[in-house]
């Protein structure tokens, strides 16, 4: 148990499997044996720019190719989870066909055993190894892109240039004007480092992390979810936040002056993916798999992820013009060096405990 899982995963992020040749087209003979097409597939997605870019990049082209309509369900990922679990437990057809979910969230479903195995997707052979989650049996989830929890800030609050350290969160002038995710997500490894601890100690000894968060509580942070960050920046409620770069990018697109950076202590990187709940009829399962397979293709990812400004797993993707060289859009080994990835299995096993500690500190 010498080597922490982190450096292994960082290498795996980039390792072999760059473009392995052009897409594998389905041989004509197999096409003839395709099962009956359902009238529609239901795909869960986050609202706003997320579902809009999915529609543009994946859903609409899929419909054009196959004739199957895609209906998007905007229920939150964590609200649909108990419904899927109940459906599987009661032997019913689940409410959705494809769940676009965070890998962390999806891992809990995978551990419970409610995900269909996706190892037979053709495009899996050509994408980055990042697409297959570490530590799980088979491929219950397919990771589709990664994102970084950056330090987003209002440039007007930093006339001297972008902040270089996460410690700006503790500056008295930002009291009441900082924001975090309300479950602490994205911040644990950073807090661990800032509290004087080591990444290798996660999850064994997280006391440095909690010590830092206790200090942060004095700053009266606002706690919320993705849309809250965009709103808060827009309405001038906050100056600094730890959030996914796409929220800051979205605020910027709406005309709010906001920028982001990866400070010297690093930042957490995580992935999102898609999975299929068990219990679907065989033909719907087949076409749901085809949907995810299409979402793995370069053609779909280029358009889809351009709208989100996030690096995908398909080979040969080009970053959007405004994100070339941006630390939140890692493309090279050097970019990934500063980023911290916690294996999803560890996250899934400890999320409840970390959540309880975070709440304990923040709610007292």
């Amino acid at each position: 148990m010498s080597e922490p899982s982190f450096s292994t995963s960082r290498r795996r992020l980039l390792g072999g499997a760059t473009a392995l040749g052009a897409g594998l087209a389905m041989p004509a003979i197999l096409r003839a044996q395709e099962p009956a097409k359902p009238a529609e597939l239901i795909v869960r997605a986050w609202g706003g720019v997320w579902v809009d870019s999915l529609k543009k990049g994946v859903s609409d082209p899929f419909t054009a190719k196959t004739g199957i309509a895609i209906r998007h369900d905007l229920t939150e990922d964590n609200e649909i989870k108990p419904r899927i679990w109940a459906a599987v437990a009661q032997g019913r057809v689940p409410p959705i066909h494809v769940n676009w979910d965070t890998t962390a969230n999806a891992t809990s479903s995978a551990l419970r055993g409610v995900c269909e195995d996706l190892s037979d997707l053709p495009n899996l052979a050509t994408v980055l190894p990042l697409a297959k989650p570490i530590g799980l049996t088979g491929v219950p989830i397919v990771n589709l892109y990664s994102y970084v929890y950056v330090l987003a800030y209002r440039p007007e609050a930093f006339p001297g240039g972008p902040p270089t350290s996460w410690n700006v969160l503790l500056e008295p002038r930002f009291k009441g004007r900082i924001a975090l995710y309300n479950d602490g997500i994205g911040f644990h490894p950073v807090a661990q480092v800032l509290g004087g601890g080591k990444i290798a100690d996660i999850p064994g000894n997280m006391e440095p992390c909690w010590a830092f968060i206790r200090k942060l509580k004095e700053q009266k942070p606002l706690l919320g979810e993705d849309p809250d960050f965009t709103n808060w920046f827009q309405k001038g409620e906050i100056d600094v936040a730890c959030t996914i770069s796409s929220n800051a990018r979205e605020a910027k697109a709406k005309g709010v002056n906001v920028a982001w950076t990866v400070p010297k202590e690093g930042a957490k990187v995580d992935t999102d993916g898609m999975w299929i709940p068990k219990g679907l009829p065989a033909n719907e399962l087949y076409w749901a798999k085809r949907y995810i397979d299409f979402a793995l293709s370069t053609e779909a990812q280029q358009v889809w992820l351009d709208g989100l400004g996030l690096p995908g797993v398909a080979p040969g993707l080009k970053p959007p013009a405004d994100l070339v060289g941006d630390p939140s859009y890692p493309t090279s080994e050097k970019d990934y060096e500063r980023l911290i990835l916690i294996p999803p299995k560890i996250q899934a096993e400890h999320t409840a405990e970390w959540f309880a500690r975070f709440k304990e500190i923040m709610q007292s």
Partner: protein
């Protein structure tokens, strides 16, 4: 003086709705008040959306089922509680208050599991039953207020004229508590129309009701088209309220006899 306080409170109650309506008229693209310029373009987008119309129709179905179930069960319960003596009166009342004392999340998960077991998910009318379950105390109270004020002399008079118990019930008691029944039915209808938390757990993308649709989209970013949807919702409902006032008179809420 009470009138002054009342009007001030009225303004307070109306303020957020007015602001949301005002913000929906913005020519800009974020929700703020006062809005940046005036424009009706967001309403254009909203009224085109077929999903909104479908969701509204489903919400109406839910509200109708809810009221249809609430009226008989609530009315009979209120009459029973007022006319007869129960030894376990307190226990019964606390039992009937469970829809308020069980947190909505708990009710929602429980009903989801129950309906799942019975294979009732994926349809719209079970949502109506759920709405009735979680709001039933309102119905019982509304009718109880009327029954309470009902003079028992009336029923005795009917009996002395030779009316049997069924006749008395149908022709004397029920008409006398009608104001309470109407008031309760209106409250149940409105609450079912607006219910989103329990519905969130019971609907899926094919049977989504309007409040769930609004809520799931509001949780994205609040954009002016959502403000427009909310305002249309309010206007439709306001029209319904005014219509009801015309037909029946909202004052039934005040009358207990």
């Amino acid at each position: 003086m009470a009138g002054g306080v009342a009007l001030a409170l009225l303004l307070l109650l109306a303020a957020p709705s007015l602001v949301v309506a005002g913000a929906s008229l913005t020519a800009g693209s974020i929700v703020q008040f006062p809005p940046e310029g005036l424009s009706l373009r967001w309403y254009g987008r909203v009224l085109e959306a077929r999903e909104v119309r479908d969701a509204l129709l489903r919400s109406l179905e839910v509200a109708t089922v809810c009221t249809a179930l609430a009226v008989p069960s609530g009315t009979l319960a209120a009459i029973a509680l007022a006319r007869w003596r129960f030894r376990a009166a307190l226990a019964i009342q606390l039992y009937l208050l469970l829809p308020f004392t069980v947190p909505l999340i708990g009710s929602g998960i429980g009903l989801m599991l129950l309906f799942g077991e019975l294979g009732l998910l994926g349809r719209v009318w079970p949502v109506g039953i759920a709405c009735c379950v979680i709001n039933l105390p309102f119905m019982i109270w509304a009718v109880a207020a009327s029954v309470n004020a009902l003079d028992p002399e009336l029923e005795r008079a009917a009996a002395s004229c030779g009316a049997g118990p069924v006749q008395t019930f149908l022709l004397v008691t029920l008409p006398a508590v009608a104001p309470g029944i109407l008031a309760g039915a209106l409250v149940m209808f409105v609450l079912a129309l607006n219910e989103f938390l329990v519905s969130l757990l019971l609907v899926d993308a094919r049977t989504v009701t309007l409040p769930v649709q609004i809520y799931t989209q509001i949780r994205g970013v609040i954009t002016p088209d959502l403000a427009a949807v909310s305002t249309v919702y309010v206007l439709v409902a306001a029209a319904a309220v005014l219509l009801l006032d015309r037909l029946v008179g909202l004052e039934i809420f005040l009358r207990s006899r």
